[in-house]
């Protein structure tokens, strides 16, 4: 209600009396002499999109303006405009296509993140990747700071919304968008519309971190015929990519397709490999000037051998911070136990109608399906096959002498410090000889997604200054979670029982069964076992945006009402929860709302002040709502919406030779939920720690600037000064999967702890661009104030009981670890040649040129704690390190 009052207030009070004129400008591709369509153009801070003839018409009050072209496909272009007439036709501006991929953000996104190899939440990083636009800070944050695991404003990836032609791509269950679903399709995902932070978003509501809408239909992709080959030493070594886009022909038809292969026998980290394809095909038909339809299909099937983080002890023993415990030799050949195999293609249809000059209707619907699987070792009544299991390490030994001989042994052979596959086969062989089931297997944990997505929005220009947009979007689908046997490693079969339950309940034989309906089933390769259930979900959002632009003031308000629901449907009757595991569980339904609003005040065309605020409620993510969906449909108690309150204020300067922005932001998160599960080898069970009532504040200042020193030399800089803290003492429910211990509740004393991830980070660089088609740049990047993710159980009364006041152990146990900061230097250089109508370009990026291999970018404390002896070194933290020096060399050919 308050928002509507606000609306009314502005509508009534905004009386635009200034004289207005229309700027008309047409953009064409310099090489192809084709219109540049659907491309973002800024006039001061207002963003416009070129129409299908490459033209832009903007009605603006008289004044001095700066027209800026800045996107992924064309070189930056700026022009000063004096508008003092009713109509100003600037005629045609020719834009030069980027021949170098020095700012190819999507390329970085699939390249730099070793954290992408990390399975759990802590390692996820995709934020900001897709947010390259006319803002020096955002460009630098997503390009130069991403290898530090820097996340814009410290937000979780779920706080950044990603859409493809309006279809919501954030996973319903974990909230995150996964760029790997369109990895390798760089040339067809360049055309996108982004907002940073809180801003009006005219295709969907977005989120507090910003939103990106990738336009992936044939007509919106620049006409091209391009082949490129890249060689690198990051996650892949070779990449071949071919893209063809026809542009519209006389019949109003446009086609585009792209295929690529990315490949590495061995990535930067030993034992990792990469085998990825991607494909894209789209056809778009312009029926008339007011109606067009596009059908698009794309997919990026990939397989990769993954990396796992380890403790510093392992890194030091091996002498490398890139030690990867996931692999071992099998008959002399490197084999990785953790292989991710994904194929989630998507097909979608878009329709756009221009009803009249003032009204537009956009409609998209898509279907996404496929498989997402990760293999891992499993074992039964046998020793842990992971070489870095804590009991195998010298630190587990109690005397210096035993530590010494264990050190000598552990480092003696890859058969010890890596997985000893031959030994696993040997043990299975002996088991088969004595008629037993497999002792070791490779299983694949699957979560196969299957969803229908839709978006429809209606844009109505009420008058020249006022726009009303309303829309609906959502998703309906299910995710099928199950385990499938991938490799018996020479054994005859696997027995589907829970060995963790086996010891605890010898009197209740059904307790140990994962599926009472199929007791003691002999599992063969390809059989489903362990767990098998669906999470069904649906999410529907209806939103409204009101936007008005006047001579001095622009403002908007956007509202959204949503409903979300989810439930679990089990296909196995679990022996530990026979009543709560099989069949359909309770449906959990949530109503939630979001609002945001902002005002921009233009002191002049160059000095702009803008402020935005948002209030959002949203339900807990399903992955945080089930106590353990693998065994039952039990839900956490008192499940309710979380709340986000966010505000930001910016000062923006736009000169002819410089652009700068400074933003202060403050965001409160209330009543968040988180769940962490880990294997407790003492109780031989999975333990789930459910945290409820987590409150956080993210506050800080972002500064970014780009200053042209000379026609071909500019300096760029960005810095984020952050303070991200937890502000509550959450309640933790600790639940043992096999029921061997009763649930306990603890208060977690984590108030004022730091949210993990670098909070201070910045970069300064020089960019040189020679008129004769070559360029070079150097960046110095730095990060600091990075805190380790922590184990909640160490911050409980129980963890420090029996310790007297002032005992130094108390501090050691409860204090959060601050990680070292660091810096890197990046170089890039490139050149292009025009040969007739064809282009050849090469470019080379060198990241972390000083080869600093000691940059901890993240990690986590292990979830186990030695409550008896309170020895914090018994389960030391695991870290991941940023890559050392890497290169990326690409040659591309346009014809």
């Amino acid at each position: 209600m308050r928002i509507f009052c606000l609306f009314a207030f502005f509508v009534v009070t905004t009386i635009a009396i200034a004289q207005q004129g229309t700027i008309k400008v047409k953009f064409v591709d310099k090489d192809q002499q084709q219109p540049v369509i659907n491309y973002p153009i800024w006039i001061n801070t207002q963003k416009f999109i070129t129409d299908d003839k490459g033209t832009l018409e903007a009605k603006l009050p008289y004044g001095t303006y700066l027209l800026i072209v800045s996107g992924d496909e064309y070189e930056t272009y700026t022009q000063k405009i004096e508008l003092h007439t009713e109509e100003l036709d600037i005629q045609t501006i020719e834009l030069t296509a980027k021949s170098f991929s020095n700012n190819d953000i999507s390329q970085m996104s699939e390249q730099t993140f070793l954290s992408d190899d990390i399975d759990d939440k802590q390692g996820q990083n995709i934020s900001g990747l897709l947010h390259a636009f006319n803002d020096p800070f955002t460009n630098i944050a997503s390009f130069n700071l991403s290898s530090f695991n820097f996340r814009s404003r410290g937000y979780d990836a779920a706080n950044f919304a990603v859409y493809i032609n309006g279809l919501p791509m954030n996973d319903f269950e974990n909230g995150r968008a996964s760029y790997s679903e369109w990895g390798g399709l760089n040339n067809v995902t360049r055309n996108k519309v982004s907002t940073n932070g809180i801003d009006a978003s005219n295709y969907a509501f977005g989120n507090i971190g910003g939103s990106t809408n990738i336009l992936m239909t044939a007509g919106s992709i620049r006409k091209q015929n391009q082949l490129s080959y890249a060689i690198s030493n990051r996650s892949y070594t070779h990449r071949l990519m071919y893209t063809y886009s026809s542009g519209y022909n006389e019949k109003g038809l446009a086609y585009a397709f792209s295929i690529s292969k990315r490949y590495a026998e061995r990535g930067y980290v030993k034992g990792t490999w990469y085998d990825a394809y991607s494909y894209f095909a789209s056809i778009e038909k312009k029926w008339n000037n007011n109606h067009q339809t596009a059908l698009t299909i794309f997919g990026a099937p990939y397989k990769r051998g993954m990396q796992a983080p380890a403790t510093q002890e392992c890194y030091d023993l091996i002498g490398s911070n890139y030690y990867n415990p996931n692999w071992g030799y099998q008959d002399g050949i490197v084999r990785n136990a953790k292989v991710r195999k994904v194929n989630q293609p998507m097909i979608f249809l878009t329709e756009s109608y221009r009803l009249n000059d003032k009204q537009k209707l956009n409609f998209s619907t898509g279907y996404q399906f496929g498989r997402f699987g990760t293999t891992s070792l499993n074992w039964y009544q046998a020793n842990d096959p992971r070489p870095d299991y804590y009991r195998y390490l010298p630190s587990y030994q109690t005397t210096p002498y035993f530590q010494q001989i264990t050190t000598d042994y552990w480092t003696s052979s890859p058969n010890v410090y890596q997985i000893n596959w031959d030994q696993l086969y040997q043990i299975n062989y002996l088991a088969t000889l004595s008629g037993q089931s497999a002792r070791y297997i490779v299983e694949e944990q699957r979560k196969d997604n299957n969803q229908w997505l839709y978006n429809m929005h209606f844009t109505h220009d009420l008058n020249d200054r006022t726009t009303l947009i309303t829309g609906i979007n959502g998703s309906v689908g299910k995710t099928h979670y199950f385990k499938v046997l991938n490799d018996l490693l020479g054994a005859a079969y696997w027995l589907d029982i829970d060995q963790y339950a086996e010891r605890d309940f010898p009197d209740n034989p059904s307790m140990l069964l994962n599926d009472i309906n199929n007791p003691y089933k002999h599992i063969k390769v390809g059989d489903i076992f362990g767990y098998n259930y669906n999470i069904h979900f649906n999410n529907h959002n209806a939103w409204l945006l009101f936007q008005q632009k006047t001579y001095r003031i622009d403002y908007y308000a956007q509202l959204q009402a949503s409903t979300s629901s989810f439930y679990r449907k089990g296909f196995m009757k679990n022996g530990r929860y026979p009543e709560a595991s099989y069949g359909k569980g309770n449906i959990n339904t949530f109503m939630h709302y979001a609002t945001k609003a902002g005002i921009t005040y233009k002191l002049s065309g160059r000095h702009i002040i803008t402020t935005n605020g948002a209030y959002i409620t949203q339900p807990p993510l399903p992955e945080n709502a089930f106590i353990n969906a693998r065994t039952s449909s039990r839900i956490i108690r008192n499940i309710e919406n979380e709340t986000i309150v966010a505000g930001e204020a910016s000062y923006i300067f736009r000169g002819i030779n410089s652009v700068a922005r400074i933003t202060a932001y403050q965001t409160y998160f209330y009543n968040q939920t988180d769940i962490r599960s880990f294997y407790h080898d003492q109780y031989q069970t999975f333990v789930n720690i459910l945290l409820q009532n987590i409150d956080k504040v993210h506050q800080g200042i972002e500064v970014g600037a780009e200053i042209k020193l000379h026609s071909s030399l500019s300096v760029v800089g960005a810095y984020n000064l952050g303070n991200y803290r937890y502000t509550s003492r959450p309640t933790a429910t600790i639940s043992y999967d096999n029921g061997s211990k009763a649930d306990t509740t603890e208060i977690i004393y984590m108030k004022y702890f730091y949210v993990p991830g670098p909070q201070n980070a910045g970069s300064i660089g020089l960019k040189y661009r020679h008129p004769k088609f070559w360029f070079a740049s150097i960046h110095f990047n730095q990060f600091d104030k990075n805190y380790l993710d922590f184990n909640p159980e160490r911050r409980t009364e129980l963890a420090i009981n029996n310790l007297g006041p002032g005992d130094p152990l108390i501090t050691q146990i409860t204090q959060q670890q601050k990680l070292k900061g660091g810096y890197t230097v990046d170089f890039s250089i490139g050149k292009s040649w025009k040969i007739g109508s064809q282009y050849v370009a090469i470019n080379l990026n060198i990241n972390n040129a000083l080869n600093n291999q000691k940059l901890i970018t993240g990690g986590y404390e292990q979830m186990r704690f030695d409550f008896q002896n309170k020895n914090i070194n018994k389960f030391p933290p695991k870290y991941f390190y940023s890559y050392g020096r890497t290169y990326f060399f690409m040659i591309s050919y346009r014809f």
């Binding site: 015929n225 071919y242 990469y274 085998d275 001989i405 043990i427 002996l430 088991a431």
Partner: protein, 434 residues
């Protein structure tokens, strides 16, 4: 569908597609791995000492093995069911020995029946609870061989073969040389049936196995055994287990619950039909005084039944009669009890006699019933003041009947030398029952 205008572009596109396809087809990550060849371990050196010889070398304390000594043996233990932990027992024809190893799930590689060579140089011999074991130095006493060096000392040879036939033993024929070996004892039963092998309240629990002659041996079970919560079975059978000893007491360790073999849960085992220790005054016993004002009384101090005719009004004739004892559906019923006496009744050679009746009514005057005296029993010698065990009294003649046992006391007078003091305790009838 491509709008390609000239042949040159077509050709270029063609070359592009062919090269792309070529690249795609030639570079694939191998995902199907060959199974590694089966590794049949083989040892190319010889043993130079028997296990008995190695054990004989032990001189006490912690004994470092400096010489190149190699033994070989067959694995007889398994930690699969958790009762054996971080231990490997091997035996040869001469002896068996415990090797303490700091590794779990040994059964996955050292299966029962596996031939193992042990290079003993650098290891230690020590003693735990009187048993010699092979291990490593830990805090100056014998400990486990660290995981890090196990592979330098233990070598498997060939695939696992048959588990050695256990030595057949009676509880009474076990000797110290059997320690560390697999033995089999037939025809034994649990003293306590239907109780957990090892309740979780203690780290390990001793249960007694008995033979039919009443000899017993300890079966020790860890609470971590998967069968710890199983109940001890009824009936009789055989046990195959590893023999150990703790401070001179033999102990058996089961590898697996399956090593209780040929167990006949319907086989009769001895049980007490009645066992009265008189810790409280009995309510179902009958005392009947035929003459005198003295009678059998309950002695709360010594917790037994007692009678003394001294100081009575007339010479005594008093009966103490057991409750009814049902001997149907039993075999080999045996009666035992203890007696104690003081003072000498010179006028009566047998002041206490023991009788059986199968027609006593269970109440009132015993002289109305037919009683048969039990001879061949040991009673406490006159004035000995010694508790004396009666010896086993065979009641086989009364199988199928319900009987009463009567203790008949008489005195020749009422004073010293004409009366005596008798006490009866630990009255028991046991029999084999199903």
């Amino acid at each position: 569908m491509l709008t390609i205008n000239n042949m040159k572009s077509v050709f270029t596109t063609f070359v592009t597609l062919v090269s792309l396809t070529g690249f795609v087809l030639t570079s694939c990550i191998k995902e199907k791995f060959d199974e590694p060849p089966v590794n049949i371990p083989h040892v190319d050196f010889q043993a130079n000492k028997t296990i008995a010889e190695l054990k004989a070398m032990y001189s006490g304390g912690l004994d470092s093995i400096q010489d190149t000594i190699i033994i070989k043996g067959i694995v007889i233990s398994s930690d699969e069911e958790g009762n054996i932990y971080k231990s490997l027992y091997i035996q040869d024809n001469t002896a068996g020995i415990l090797i303490a190893l700091d590794r779990t799930n040994l059964y996955t590689t050292f299966k029962p029946g596996q031939r193992v060579y042990v290079k003993c140089k650098g290891l230690f011999l020590g003693n735990y609870g009187g048993v010699t074991q092979l291990g490593y130095k830990y805090n100056n006493s014998i400990g486990r061989i660290p995981n890090a060096i196990i592979d330098n000392h233990l070598f498997r040879d060939s695939l696992p073969g048959a588990v050695p036939t256990p030595l057949s033993r009676e509880i009474t024929t076990i000797t110290g040389n059997d320690i560390g070996r697999l033995i089999r004892i037939d025809n034994v039963f649990f003293e306590e049936v239907n109780v957990e092998f090892a309740p979780q309240s203690a780290s390990a629990t001793d249960r007694k196995l008995q033979d039919i002659n009443g000899n017993s041996i300890i079966l020790r079970t860890s609470k971590y055994a998967t069968f710890a919560s199983n109940k001890t079975p009824k009936g009789r059978g055989s046990i195959i287990a590893i023999l150990s000893s703790y401070n001179g007491t033999y102990q058996l360790y089961l590898n697996s619950i399956k090593d209780l073999v040929d167990w006949d849960t319907t086989a009769p085992i001895p049980s007490n039909i009645i066992y009265e220790t008189f810790t409280t005054a009995p309510t179902d016993w009958i005392t009947y005084s035929v003459s005198s004002n003295k009678n059998w009384i309950y002695d709360a101090t010594f917790q037994c039944m007692s009678i003394n005719g001294y100081g009575a009004d007339v010479p005594s004739h008093d009966w103490l009669i057991s409750p009814a004892i049902n001997l149907t559906n039993v075999s080999s019923p045996i009666l035992t009890f203890k007696t104690w006496t003081r003072y000498t009744d010179t006028g009566t050679p047998k002041p206490l006699t023991v009788w059986i009746s199968d027609n006593y009514t269970g109440t009132g005057d015993p002289t109305q019933a037919t009683w048969t005296e039990i001879t061949n029993i040991n009673l406490s010698p006159t004035n000995s003041q010694t508790w004396t065990h009666s010896g086993d009294i065979d009641l086989s003649n009364y199988i199928g009947k319900t009987i009463y046992i009567g203790f008949k006391y008489i005195s020749s007078g009422t004073g010293s030398n004409s009366s005596s003091h008798w006490e009866v305790d630990e009255f028991k009838v046991k029999a084999l029952s199903k």
